[in-house]
Amino acid sequence: MNLTAGFQIIVNGMATGGVYAIFALGYTLVFSILGIINFAHSAVFTLGAYFTYALLGSQFGFNGLLARGRLPFGLSFPLALLGGAILAGLVAVMVERLAFRPLRKRGADPLLMLVSSLGVAVAIVNIIQYLFGAEPYTFPNILGGLPGSVNLGTPGTPLVARTVQLLIAGVSLVILALLTVYINYTNTGKALRAVAEDATTASLLGINTDRLVLLTFFLSGFIGGIAGTLVGLSVGITGPYFGIAFGLKGLSVIILGGLGSIPGAVLGGIVIGIGENLVPAEHVGYKDAVAFALLFIVLLVRPQGLLGRTQIQKV
């Protein structure tokens, strides 16, 4: 293996792994507060990609209600990415209000909330199909005048990476860094951790727990939407079911890293991302098997995941 190939594995691994990590964090945030896996997260991921696509002013496909239309304006990529993420966050907030809160207030079994989130996922996928059609969408070139690949080495020892991959890795790392700072060092972040540990006590400290649950869903949808856009940039939007396969990958990431652990989600994402990119090009069909093989092996040795607490329990 030469230097460039090794370098590309790292860049691609960071890009894939970074996206896995931010996507998986969306599950982790909700899990650590409510103790449930929000299956609607993968549908919000899909929506994020469509939202950004639309905000770029690109033309819709040939099927669906919006066929051949486009927004009367087009935003630059950074703004469209942000806008798509905010819209995805707002959808996640609606999911909490409509699908989770009513059940929570009645003290429903977590299993019911899980089923409810699956129902929401199916509904969102159907709405997407109704609006945008079932066909794949390809993002326009968002790099503008930038070259498609850059050499970060010297002419003698080239280290070439695709610009899009660098962009994806960069955006993911920035999001991870911002989220880490937000959760660990701001007052609101500390309050989120308080609610995650003990919601009743948090409310006795003057924390409005319902509002923080909404904030958690917003953050989860926001980063899920960004992940959707980034994956869409890399491989295109494959259709309304875009997020479903990715959702399974995200689940293996959080289980590998340790359910409910934020550093675990990040580590799990990077491990699976790099692991997949180690698969040689001629065996690319086995890429998806890597995630599940890694998961299987780790769980044999550490059932609680890489950074999970020894017991998975919610009191």
Binding site: A194, T200, A202, L204, L205, G206, I207
Partner: protein
């Protein structure tokens, strides 16, 4: 003088089980009032009603002239009531300092919050030594101090304490009760739930004795401590 807190005919059910039956308690500003009684009498339930963690089926809770029943727990804190729950419930995965800061979550006067933080460290020197330690690694006594200090960070007018002596060595219990008296002298009104009736009645101005969800005796602490029936049942 208008009462700071008036609980009228409070009735609480857990499913079909009645935990409180027509409980009436008043707390005047500046008082230490204690609520004593044996296990399962309904002491914790009473405090949880005041903090709005549970809904009574009947009765009312008037604080500062206004009913609390339509408020959320976080709004009750903003009204000036701080609750130190049974079993301390410190946030074990956050540092001591972060626990204290969260105690001031409802406040927006940042400079004053910093001043209050320093004040807690003076009042509880052990917490100053442990400020960057995870709260879960504190000893039981230190956790109780942290729980009280955290409650004080909201600058309460009324402090609800649920069994602060639970599981602590006598010397630590003495410290904690000394702090309760000091706080009261500084103007904080206290509603103190205790199983250690002797100590509670020595500390409080007035007391209520709760048994299976009903107030069976009420009066000045000095009278209750000499009452033959109270002595027999609760003072051993």
């Amino acid at each position: 003088m208008a009462a700071l807190l008036e609980i009228h005919d409070l009735a609480v059910y857990y499913g079909a089980i009645q935990a409180l039956k027509a409980v009436t308690i008043t707390v005047e500003p500046g008082e230490i009032v204690t609520l004593i009684g044996s296990n399962g009498a309904g002491k914790t339930t009473s405090l949880r009603c005041i903090s709005r963690l549970i809904n009574p089926r009947a009765g009312d809770i008037i604080y500062d002239g206004v009913s609390l029943l339509r408020r959320r727990p976080d709004e009750v804190v903003r009204q000036g009531i701080a609750h130190v729950p049974e079993g301390r419930r410190i946030l074990s995965r956050l540092s001591v300092q972060d626990n204290l800061r969260l105690g001031a979550y409802s406040r927006h006067d940042r400079a004053a919050v910093r001043g209050d933080l320093d004040e807690q460290y003076v009042r509880f020197p052990i917490l100053a030594q442990r400020r960057s330690q995870l709260a879960g690694t504190l000893s039981g006594g230190e956790q109780q101090m942290l729980a009280i200090a955290r409650a004080l960070m909201s600058r309460p007018r009324l402090l609800l304490l649920d069994e602060p002596s639970l599981g602590l060595a006598p010397i630590i219990v003495r410290d904690i009760f000394r702090i309760i008296r000091t706080l009261n002298a500084e103007g904080v009104t206290v509603l103190l739930v205790e199983q250690n009736a002797q100590l509670a009645l020595q500390t409080a101005h007035r007391g209520y004795v709760l048994e299976t969800g009903e107030v069976i005796f009420a009066g000045a602490a000095a009278q209750l401590i000499d009452d033959e029936r109270v002595k027999k049942a609760y003072l051993g």
